[in-house]
C-alpha cells in the first residue's frame, strides 16, 4: 500500500472536523450544566432599602415615568393612567400596593407588566431593573412557603430578594400587603 502525504484540503477538512467536535462537546457540557442549574430570570430593582424583583417573563417594557394623567377619586394606590401601544393602562404605586413602603428616590421608571390575567398595567419603580437569575429550585421552594404576593428568596451570596408574584398581587382575594408573606 502506498502511503500518500495529506494534501492541503484534506488537512483543512480534518482540522475543521476537530474544531466542530470540540465545539459540540463544549455545547454538550453546557447543556448538562444547564440541566443541573435551572434558573429563573428576574428583573431586580430597589424599593427603599430593600431589593425587590419580578419574573422577567412578566415584564413587557420599562418606560420613563411621564405622561401619566392622575385619576381623581381613584383608589389610593392608583398613580394615574397612561397610554402604552394604543392601550390605556393604569400606573400603580408599588410601594402603596405593598402596604405603605418607604422609598429612597422618587420613582422615575414605569414597569409595564402582565398582571398574570393577560391584562397589562404599569408599576412605578425607583430605577431601571437589572436582569439577573435565581436558582429555579429556590424560587419554587419560596413559592410553596409564601402565602402572600411577596416571596423571600436568598441569593447564593445570602442577599435577600423580595420576589413579587404578580398573579397573587393582583388577585383581589390576596391582601396585597407585606404581612401576607
Amino acid at each position: 500500500m502506498k502511503i500518500l502525504p495529506r494534501n492541503m484540503e484534506e488537512a483543512q477538512e480534518q482540522e475543521a472536523a476537530e474544531l466542530l467536535e470540540r465545539r459540540a462537546s463544549r455545547l454538550r457540557e453546557q447543556a448538562e450544566t444547564t440541566v443541573e442549574e435551572a434558573v429563573h430570570w428576574i428583573a431586580e430593582f430597589p424599593l427603599g432599602e430593600e431589593r425587590y424583583a419580578l419574573s422577567l417573563e412578566m415584564l413587557r417594557a420599562a418606560l420613563p415615568l411621564r405622561m401619566v394623567t392622575p385619576v381623581p377619586l381613584s383608589a389610593p394606590h392608583v398613580v394615574g393612567v397612561l397610554r402604552f401601544q394604543g392601550q390605556v393602562l393604569s400606573a400603580l404605586s408599588l410601594a402603596s400596593m405593598l402596604g405603605g413602603h418607604g422609598w429612597r428616590q422618587d420613582p422615575a421608571v414605569l414597569l409595564v407588566v402582565d398582571r398574570g390575567d393577560g391584562e397589562l398595567c404599569a408599576l412605578d419603580c425607583e430605577a431601571i431593573p437589572r436582569p439577573t437569575t435565581l436558582p429555579a429550585s429556590v424560587v419554587e421552594a419560596a413559592r410553596v412557603r409564601a402565602e402572600g404576593p411577596v416571596m423571600e428568596v436568598f441569593t447564593q451570596d445570602r442577599q435577600l430578594i423580595h420576589l413579587i408574584d404578580l398573579k397573587r398581587l393582583f388577585n383581589p382575594r390576596s391582601t396585597g400587603g407585606r404581612n401576607a408573606r
Binding site: V88, G102, R104
Partner: protein, 724 residues
C-alpha cells in the same frame, strides 16, 4: 334526502337566506297576534307573510329540498283561511306556524351542514302540523271556502308558483349566497381588520397633532410680530402664515380621509342591530306565555349597525336580561291590574351610540328590585355575611344581584333559579371592557344600563380645567356656557344656585367634586357650564374652558373602571390622556358635608408618585388630602383653602421646601401652620437645614412608611396645638 352535490354550496347560502326570511315571518306573526291593528294593516301583514312563506317554499323546491318545500306549503295552507278574513290571528295558530318555522329552520340548517341524509322522515312532523292547524270553521265563514293554492297565486300573481319560486330563489341566491363564496371578494381575518382600525385611530391622532402644529406656527407668527421687528420679519411671517394655512388644509383633508376610512371599515365590520334584536321578540313572547304573563318588547335604535363580534357577544347578555325581566320583573296580569297597570308588561330595549360609546338600556315596568329581599337572600346564600350586608347602602345591595350564585328564586325552573345569569351578564360586559349598572324603583320597574366601547367613531368633547386637571365633558351633555355673575347667583350657607332660564340650578364646583379642593362658591367671572343628563341639570363651575375636540374615547383599565366619575379616556395631541367625565355622575347629588368635617392635609411634591404615596398614607389615616405639584401652586391653594398640616418635599424646582416655609411664616394666617418636610436626602445636614428653615418635622422618604408618616403628622399637629 340527499342534496345534489352541485347544489350543496347553494344550500348553505339558502340556510342563511331562510334564517332572515323566517325572522321576518316571525315578526309578522307576532304583529298579527297583537291587538290594535286595523283591518287594512292586518291585510297588509297577511299578504307580506304569504309572500315570505311562498319565497321559502320556492327557494327550497328549486334546490331539491322537497321536505322543506312541503313544510312551507303546509304553513301556507294554515295561513290561507285566515288571510281572507283579515282578522287578528288566534294564538293557537301563531303557535302552530312558529312551530312549523322552527322545524323548517332546523332541517334547513341540517341540509346546509350536510346532515340532510340523517334527518327523519318529515311525514310525521307534517302530519302533526296539519293536525294542529286551524279547522276552517274556527276562522269564520268568509275563509272557509278558500283553497290553499289561491294564496300562492295571490302572492305571485304574474307567474305560476313554480316559475315564481325559481325566480325568487335565483335572485335570493345571487344576493345572499354568492358574495360569501365567489371570487369577487376577499377573505380577511379579524386581526387584519382590527389592525386597520388601530391605524385609523392613529391617523385621527396624527390629525390632532397636525392641528396642534398649526397652532404652534400661529403662535410663532404672533411672537415675531410682537418683537417690534415687523419689517425684518415680514418675509418669515408671510412664509410661516402660508405654511400654517397649508397645514390647516392638510389637516382637513386628513380628517376627510379618516372619515372615509371609518365609513368603509364600518360597512365591512358591522351589521344591523335588529339581526340580534328581532329573535328576542319571539323569545319574550314564548317565555311570557309559558309563565302566564303578558309582555311586549319595544325596541328603540334597532336601525343602528354595530360590530358583528360585539353583537354576537351581546346577544347572550340581552337574552339573560330579558328573561330575567319577564321572570322576575313583570307581574302576572291580575297583579298588574290590581296595581293599576296595563295587564301587558312593557319591556324596552334602547340602543344608542354616542361617538365610540354604545349605550344599551334594558328596562321593564314591573315590580322593581326588592332591596330587603335581595339583602336577605344574599345573606342566606352566603354571598355576603350579615355584617357586610348591614354596611351596604341600597345601590350596593342592588349590585349584589350581579354576584355569582345569587338568585332570589327559591325553586329552580327552566327560566331561572340556578344563580347563573346576571353574573354572566356582567362578566360578558366586562370582557368587552364595558360596565353595567342597575336602577330600580319599587313598583315601577327596573333599568339595566350597559356602556360599551366600540372600535370606530369619535365623540365631540369639551375640554375644561379644574386647577391643573384637564377634564373632558361629552359635548352632548353641555347645554350652554356662561360666566358667573353675582346677580344671577343665589349663594346659601351650604349650596349655591344659578338662576337660569327661570329655574334655579345647583352649582357644582368641578374641582371640589373631584376632591381636588374644598367647596367654595363660584367667583365672579368663573365659567359655568350648564350640564344635563337624564333630565337633571346643574351649573358646573370650572376654572377654564380650554376648547372643543373630536376625540376617540377609550375604555379605562380595570383598576379605575369602577370609579363612577369617569367614562373613559381620550388621547390628546401630545399623547397624554384626557379623562372623560360622566355627565350623569355630575348631576347626581352627593353629601359633601361629611368631607368638610375631616382633618385636611396639603401634600406638596413635584413627583407624581410621591404625591400619590403620601395621599394614600394620609387618607388611610382619615385625612382629606389635597395635592400641589409645586411651591407656587401650594401658595395658591393656601390662599383659598385652610389645612391642618402641610407635607412638603424639600427639593423642588423653582421654589424648594425651605423657601415655601419662609413664605408661609411671613403670613399671619399660615405662620403657625404645621409643616413637615420630606426628602430623599437622609443626611444630618439636610435635616438641620430643614428644621432651621422652620419645619415642624423632617422625614426622609425612606422613613415614610405608612405608620411613620402618620405618627409624625399627628405628633407635629399635637405639638403645634399645645403651643397655640
Amino acid at each position: 334526502m340527499p342534496v345534489d352535490p352541485m347544489l350543496q354550496g347553494l344550500v348553505t347560502g339558502f340556510a342563511v337566506e331562510a334564517q332572515e326570511v323566517i325572522q321576518k315571518v316571525t315578526m309578522d306573526l307576532l304583529e298579527l297576534e297583537r291587538d290594535g291593528l286595523d283591518s287594512t294593516a292586518l291585510a297588509k301583514v297577511y299578504v307580506r307573510l304569504g309572500r315570505h312563506l311562498h319565497t321559502l317554499k320556492g327557494s327550497a323546491s328549486s334546490l331539491g329540498l322537497q321536505d322543506l318545500g312541503d313544510i312551507a306549503h303546509k304553513l301556507e295552507d294554515a295561513l290561507a283561511p285566515l288571510k281572507a278574513s283579515s282578522r287578528k290571528m288566534p294564538r293557537s295558530v301563531v303557535d302552530v306556524l312558529l312551530h312549523g318555522l322552527d322545524l323548517f329552520m332546523l332541517r334547513a340548517q341540517a341540509h346546509a351542514d350536510g346532515r340532510g341524509d340523517a334527518l327523519p322522515d318529515p311525514a310525521a312532523a307534517l302530519a302533526q302540523l296539519v293536525a294542529e292547524g286551524p279547522a276552517p270553521e274556527t276562522v269564520g265563514p268568509q275563509a272557509s271556502g278558500q283553497a290553499p293554492q289561491s294564496s300562492s297565486a295571490e302572492a305571485a300573481p304574474l307567474a305560476t308558483p313554480e316559475e315564481s319560486a325559481l325566480v325568487e330563489s335565483s335572485s335570493a341566491m345571487n344576493q345572499d349566497a354568492q358574495p360569501e363564496s365567489a371570487d369577487t371578494g376577499w377573505r380577511v381575518s379579524v386581526r387584519q381588520v382590527t389592525s386597520l382600525m388601530r391605524e385609523v385611530e392613529r391617523l385621527r391622532e396624527v390629525r390632532l397633532r397636525v392641528e396642534e402644529r398649526g397652532r404652534e406656527l400661529d403662535r410663532v407668527v404672533t411672537v415675531l410680530a410682537k418683537q417690534g421687528l415687523l419689517a425684518e420679519t415680514a418675509e418669515a411671517r408671510t412664509l410661516l402664515a402660508g405654511t400654517s394655512r397649508l397645514l390647516r388644509t392638510d389637516g382637513e383633508e386628513t380628517s376627510d380621509i379618516v372619515d372615509a376610512l371609518e365609513e368603509g371599515l364600518k360597512a365591512i365590520t358591522t351589521r344591523p342591530v335588529r339581526t340580534i334584536l328581532d329573535p328576542l321578540q319571539r323569545m319574550v313572547r314564548d317565555l311570557s306565555r309559558q309563565l302566564g304573563k303578558e309582555a311586549r318588547l319595544s325596541v328603540v335604535g334597532s336601525e343602528l349597525s354595530l360590530d358583528r363580534r360585539l353583537l354576537e357577544k351581546l346577544q347572550g347578555a340581552l337574552v339573560h336580561l330579558l328573561r330575567n325581566a319577564v321572570d322576575h320583573g313583570l307581574e302576572l296580569p291580575s297583579q298588574r291590574e290590581k296595581a293599576g297597570k296595563h295587564q301587558e308588561g312593557a319591556l324596552t330595549l334602547r340602543i344608542e351610540q354616542q361617538g365610540n360609546l354604545l349605550f344599551l338600556e334594558c328596562s321593564d315596568d314591573g315590580s322593581g328590585i326588592d332591596v330587603m329581599r335581595v339583602r336577605k337572600v344574599a345573606e342566606s346564600r352566603g354571598v355576603v355575611t350579615s355584617d357586610e350586608a348591614e354596611r351596604l347602602n341600597e345601590n350596593q345591595v342592588r349590585d349584589l344581584i350581579f354576584r355569582p350564585g345569587f338568585s332570589t328564586r327559591s325553586d329552580v325552573t327552566d327560566t331561572s333559579g340556578r344563580g347563573v345569569g346576571l353574573d354572566a351578564v356582567r362578566a360578558s360586559v366586562e370582557a368587552l371592557q364595558g360596565r353595567i349598572e342597575v336602577n330600580s324603583t319599587p313598583g315601577q320597574g327596573t333599568r339595566f344600563v350597559m356602556t360599551l366601547p366600540v372600535d370606530l367613531g369619535s365623540s365631540p368633547v369639551l375640554v375644561v380645567r379644574a386647577l391643573e386637571q384637564l377634564v373632558g365633558l361629552p359635548m352632548l351633555a353641555v347645554e350652554a356656557t356662561q360666566l358667573a355673575r353675582a346677580d344671577s347667583l343665589r349663594i346659601g350657607k351650604r349650596k349655591a344656585h344659578l338662576e337660569y332660564q327661570g329655574q334655579l340650578l345647583p352649582v357644582v364646583d368641578l374641582g371640589a367634586r373631584l376632591g381636588l379642593r374644598a367647596l367654595a362658591p363660584p367667583a365672579e367671572g368663573q365659567p359655568l357650564l350648564i350640564v344635563q343628563s337624564g333630565g337633571k341639570r346643574v351649573a358646573l363651575g370650572v376654572d377654564a374652558v380650554v376648547g372643543d375636540k373630536d376625540l376617540v374615547i377609550r375604555p379605562l383599565p380595570s383598576e379605575v373602571r369602577d370609579v363612577p366619575a369617569w367614562q373613559g379616556a381620550a388621547t390628546l395631541s401630545r399623547g397624554e390622556l384626557l379623562l372623560i367625565c360622566r355627565p350623569d355622575w355630575l348631576v347626581t347629588e352627593t353629601g359633601q358635608a361629611a368631607v368638610t368635617a375631616q382633618r385636611r392635609a396639603l401634600v406638596v411634591d413635584d413627583s407624581l408618585t410621591a404625591r400619590a404615596l403620601h395621599r394614600a398614607m394620609l387618607e388611610a389615616g382619615g385625612f382629606s388630602v389635597h395635592l400641589a405639584a409645586s411651591g407656587a401652586r401650594a401658595l395658591d391653594r393656601l390662599a383659598t383653602d385652610t389645612y391642618d398640616v402641610v407635607i412638603c418635599d424639600l427639593d423642588m424646582e423653582e421654589m424648594d421646601g425651605t423657601q415655601l416655609i419662609a413664605r408661609l411664616r411671613e403670613k399671619k394666617e399660615t405662620s403657625s401652620l404645621p409643616v413637615i418636610l420630606v426628602s430623599a436626602h437622609d443626611s444630618a445636614a439636610a435635616r438641620e437645614r430643614g428644621m432651621a428653615a422652620g419645619a415642624d418635622g423632617y422625614l426622609s422618604k425612606r422613613e415614610c412608611a405608612a405608620g411613620r408618616l402618620l405618627a409624625e403628622v399627628l405628633d407635629v399637629m399635637s405639638r403645634r396645638g399645645a403651643r397655640a
